[in-house]
Amino acid sequence: MTGTDVPNGDMPNIPHSPLQDGSAVTDADLVALLAGKLDVTPGLQPVADVLAALRAEPSLGELAGEARALAEFRRRAGMPVPRRHARRSTAGLTSRLSAKAAAGAAAATLVLGGAATAAFANMLPAPIQRLAHDVLGAPDAPSAAQPVPARGKPTAPGRLASHGTHKSNVKPHSTSRHPNRHGHGQPGTSQGQQGNGEGQQGTGQGQQGKGQSGAAHPGQPGAGQPGQPGAGQGRQGNGLGNPHAMRQYGDPHFLWQLGDPHALATPIAHHAWPARYRPAMDT
């Protein structure tokens, strides 16, 4: 009988293991086993043999899949997959950027073109119009002291705006400061009116649009002297059919006139003004 009152023949025959209590195996032995050392305690020698079998040379069966792996490697390594993808993505990116750049350029062109058109049509708000006037040479915005001229009113050739209703706060040049090589009358009077009054400039444009000049119509009402007052206007763009005006481009007086701050604004601004915005001229 055993201590548990069980017959000895009924108890299982379990052999006692020397490692059952665990005291025979130390951590140093286990570390040595993991490190692959074979000279361990005799009780751990079977374990060392098992671990050595795990590290054994490969069998033929374990190397049988080499051809399959090499085929996959050959398939992948032979193809420049990353480069091709990179090239595709670069090309796509370039095309997308080009499309965006073209769209942006078109939009900018439309905006700038529209703004320029509106500026030259004098359709912008006054501050922006003045800015456009300074930058682009567009017509200046009308101010309170300078009322908007009446539109589309044709003026008679040879007429001078200084004689109209448009007020000009210009000091007329004296005759002595503007000598006329041709000896025409009072050039100073007409030049002073041309250079400073916008309404006067508009009048001059109206004359130019008709291909005429004040100089070509001597005797018409002007500053008082036939042919003289219009001489300054006629110089600035009505040269067609006007031999007198053509002659004036080579005129040192004309060149001098360009240097004059009052006269300078007149020929440049005249050309840019649409006909319907030309200041009306008094008859």
Partner: protein, 184 residues
């Protein structure tokens, strides 16, 4: 382990050298199969092939030493095995022949298998009789040649837990061989 030549072999393989890649494959694939034979018995060949396919895809971008290389390979293989186990769990109608050895009744049976073969397969069968974590730790430390920190990262455990699992597995293996009188 390749050791000193590993860097040059890896660079050559990344440059397209088949011989270098073959050397790398021959060095790791047997250990990979032995590891997979324990954690995914019956599917080790397919899982190893899928692992190498994935490794070849990422070979050019791999950076690291031999320890990192092996850790990458075994991590990839382990994830494949986990995916396979999930797939099998969703399809429980698998025939009995495909049931993993690790899922079969163990202890004395594993020892008997080891007694019959006396080979690497017998050693793998013995390790397969250990609890899963202990078996994985021993295989990764002994077969894959990874250090404790690498195994801990691979198994998402702490290094201390890995050391404890390794020691417990070795003690249990020693007890198992002593009980059954296994000699390889």
């Amino acid at each position: 382990m390749i050791n000193e030549e590993f860097a040059s072999l890896l660079a050559a393989a990344q440059g397209g050298s088949e011989a270098a890649f073959s050397r790398l494959w021959r060095d790791v694939n047997p250990a990979l199969l032995r590891y997979l034979r324990v954690i995914a018995p019956g599917a080790e060949e397919d899982l190893a092939a899928e692992t190498w396919v994935q490794v070849v895809r990422g070979l050019r971008s791999f950076r690291g030493d031999e320890q990192a290389w092996r850790a990458w390979l075994f991590t990839t293989a382990r994830r494949r095995a986990i995916d396979l186990a999930r797939h099998r769990s969703r399809r429980p109608e698998a025939p009995l022949d495909d049931v993993a050895v690790a899922q079969l009744p163990r202890t004395e049976d594993s020892a008997e298998v080891a007694l019959e073969h006396l080979s690497t397969a017998a050693a793998i069968a013995l390790v397969s009789g250990l609890p899963r974590l202990q078996a994985e730790v021993i295989l990764l430390r002994v077969v894959a040649g990874l250090d404790t920190e690498s195994v801990a990262r691979l198994l998402t455990r702490s290094p201390g837990a890995v050391r404890v699992a390794a020691h417990r597995g070795l003690r249990r293996l020693a007890q198992l061989t002593a009980d059954t009188g296994v000699t390889l």
